[in-house]
């Protein structure tokens, strides 16, 4: 027989108490793990969705007379300004230090055109990137697939009387309306969207661009530093972070994270207290037994070893059970949180659960165990 046999046997005898202690600590671990996992998933989900909220960095040519109001349509000014941006800048943006934070880069070229006798602005875009960036876009008809297919903003379509399937002529080039956007309430309503190479070709603009929209996954990345990095690569451009929406959303995320940290700490402290109280009372109950151990030749460290081994087993079990509980809890909560998938439940989280449980379990047990080991054997034997 070894010392650990004694610990195991005792845990087995006090099955109910052992189970309750494991569950109590496991619950704390589960809450910690579950909250951390959900927060992490929310963060990931949020940063993944950031590009759905549209561009968060705008790159425009530097120009003194330019006043840009992306909400309104003063971009017209840009269109006729000197196009200092070009396709080569897109590659430069993708090569910045924080490039892994960049989700989408959408180059655009605006040009005024006469269509059916009316002045409209044609926006040359890459449809794939644009649809990725503007997930809120809804349209009638279909998505442009061929190079000569276009998408018309709602008010532009109204003004020009365009429907899906209509033909139109821009700068003597024959194009076809694939779809008409439903109203977005933004400047997009007034634009005609045409594939970027076509716009560059029909207006003879070569590689020129009017604007580059960048969507950076910036939940945790320093957007200012990304702006600075792009600014360095493109000295002739004016790089602006479209800040507000992101910051309020990030602020909410930070609050959620802080809340979950505070809650976890409280629950973990509570569990530690529970284990401490439980251990203290169990040591009073076990005084006699500890006296027996000492009488038959156990040293203090042997008593300590038996008691701490018991705590270790309880903690390890609580770590595993807590991890599983936290994982299942997070899965149950997932639909409520509107999350598609969960992150933060890998092997590293299991290790964190175990570490947390052991840390809490052992640190709550160490004083009671030490106190027990210090009991005078005779006093302990007289206890009963």
């Amino acid at each position: 027989m070894k010392l650990y046999h004694i610990g195991l046997k005792n845990l087995k005898r006090r099955r109910v108490r052992t189970t309750l202690t494991i569950l109590g600590l496991a619950l704390a671990v589960a809450i910690e793990v579950g909250l951390t996992g959900i927060t992490k998933s929310l963060e990931d989900d949020f940063s993944r969705k950031l590009d759905e909220y549209g561009a968060n960095i705008l790159i425009l040519p530097k120009s003194d007379d330019l006043s840009l109001d992306y909400g309104g349509l003063s971009v017209a000014g840009v269109t006729f300004g000197s196009e200092k941006l070009s396709m080569s800048d897109v590659a430069k943006i993708k090569a910045i230090k924080n490039s892994e934070n960049i989700a989408t880069v959408v180059p655009q070229l605006f040009h005024a055109a006469d269509v059916n006798g009316r002045n409209v602005i044609v926006s040359g875009i890459d449809f794939n990137s644009e649809f990725r960036l503007k997930r809120w876009w809804r349209f009638s008809g279909s998505r442009p697939k061929e190079p000569d297919e276009i998408l018309a903003g709602s008010s532009a379509a109204q003004a020009l009387n365009l429907k899906p399937g209509d033909d139109l002529e821009i700068a003597k080039h024959h194009l076809r309306v694939a779809g008409v956007l439903t109203e977005t309430g933004s400047q997009d309503d007034k634009l005609i969207f045409v594939s970027l190479p076509i716009v560059q070709k029909i207006f003879d603009k070569g590689e020129a661009l009017s604007m580059i929209e960048v969507s950076a996954l910036c939940y945790n990345c320093p957007i200012d530093s990304i702006v600075a990095q792009i600014g360095e690569k493109l000295p002739n451009a004016q790089v602006t972070a479209v800040r507000q929406t992101i910051e309020t959303k990030m602020d909410v995320m930070h609050r959620i994270r802080h809340f979950s940290i505070i809650l976890s700490v409280a629950v973990v402290l509570f569990a530690a207290l529970m284990i401490f109280v439980n251990m203290m009372s169990s040591i009073t109950e076990r005084e006699k037994e500890i006296g027996i151990f000492r009488a038959v030749g156990f040293k203090r460290k042997h008593v300590l070893a038996v008691l701490l081994f018991e705590s270790l087993i309880v903690s390890l079990s609580a770590g595993v059970v807590g991890y599983l509980l936290g994982l299942s809890g997070a899965h149950l909560a997932r639909p409520l949180m509107g999350l598609h998938d969960l992150h933060g439940f890998g092997i590293d989280t299991l290790l964190i659960s175990l570490t947390l449980a052991i840390f809490v379990g052992i640190s709550a047990a160490i004083y009671p165990a030490y106190k027990a080991a210090k009991l005078e054997p005779t006093a302990a034997l007289r206890a009963l």
């Binding site: 027989m1 070894k2 010392l3 004694i6 030749g297 040293k299 203090r300």
Partner: protein, 249 residues
């Protein structure tokens, strides 16, 4: 040199404002192979005496020398080793660990040692068969009778083959017939060379022993080795004796 030498031992318990002199300047020598019956009224210091001899409780003053080792000069861990190597305790309330089975209870003193499991089990099984409990090795103490539990406790006291057995009212919780068989066991152990110190209230049992010492208020008031030995011999041989002179209470 005696196996056990108790030199001017006093023990004072202090609880709050009150102090109890459980032992007062006690000096005594016990040779290897003696079977000492410890008698005296309740509260006279008998248990205190045993725990001090057994290295469980340090005297307030004085020395205890066992096998030429001044035991309370040992470091705490050394005292634990001494308890395991030299002393086996048997208590009135058996003091078995309720969640360990019979075999494990017997093995308890060996748990902190590095003795291989097979060897441990072989020794314990040998002892269990001697006390007639081998078939109950897997039982829990709660499933045994009082006499059986005390046999387990005796087997446990013997597991590290100690020189000394200290028994504090080992038959105090047992009926007469069971007590007698436990006494026979102690007698057998003594005949095999174990030095035994046994507290008992039953004056009859001293006739199994070679010496009786008698406590009153923490001092020794009687230590009649030869006479007891003689009477013990008489008892063994069925001669008449006068019980009343040995009765204190």
């Amino acid at each position: 040199m005696s196996l056990i030498e108790i030199k001017n031992v006093s023990k004072e318990y202090i609880i709050g404002q009150t102090s109890t002199h459980a032992l007062r300047d006690l000096s005594l020598q016990i040779d290897e192979g003696e079977f000492v019956t410890v008698m005296g009224p309740s509260g006279s210091g008998k248990s205190t005496f045993l725990t001090i001899v057994g290295g469980l409780s340090e005297p307030t003053s004085g020395r205890v020398v066992i096998d030429e080792i001044d035991i309370y000069s040992l470091r705490r861990d050394g005292l634990s080793d001494l308890r395991r190597e030299y002393v086996g305790f048997v208590f009135q309330s058996f003091n078995l660990v309720p969640y360990l089975n019979v075999l494990e209870n017997v093995l308890l003193p060996l748990a902190p040692t590095g003795i291989p499991a097979k060897e441990q089990t072989a020794i314990a099984e040998g002892l269990l068969s001697e006390v007639g409990l081998l078939e109950k090795a897997e039982h829990l103490p709660g499933e045994l009778s009082g006499g059986e539990q005390q046999r387990v406790a005796i087997a446990r006291a013997l597991i590290s083959d100690p020189l000394i057995i200290l028994a504090d009212e080992p038959t105090g919780n047992l009926d007469t017939a069971t007590s007698e068989s436990i006494m026979q066991l102690f007698k057998l152990l003594n005949e095999r060379g174990k030095t035994i110190l046994m507290v008992t209230h039953n004056p009859v049992y001293k006739f199994h022993s070679t010496r009786t010492i008698d406590f009153r208020d923490g001092t020794l008031v009687g230590d009649d080795m030869k006479y007891i030995s003689q009477m013990s011999a008489d008892y063994r041989e069925g001669r008449e004796f006068q019980q009343n002179i040995w009765t204190h209470d």
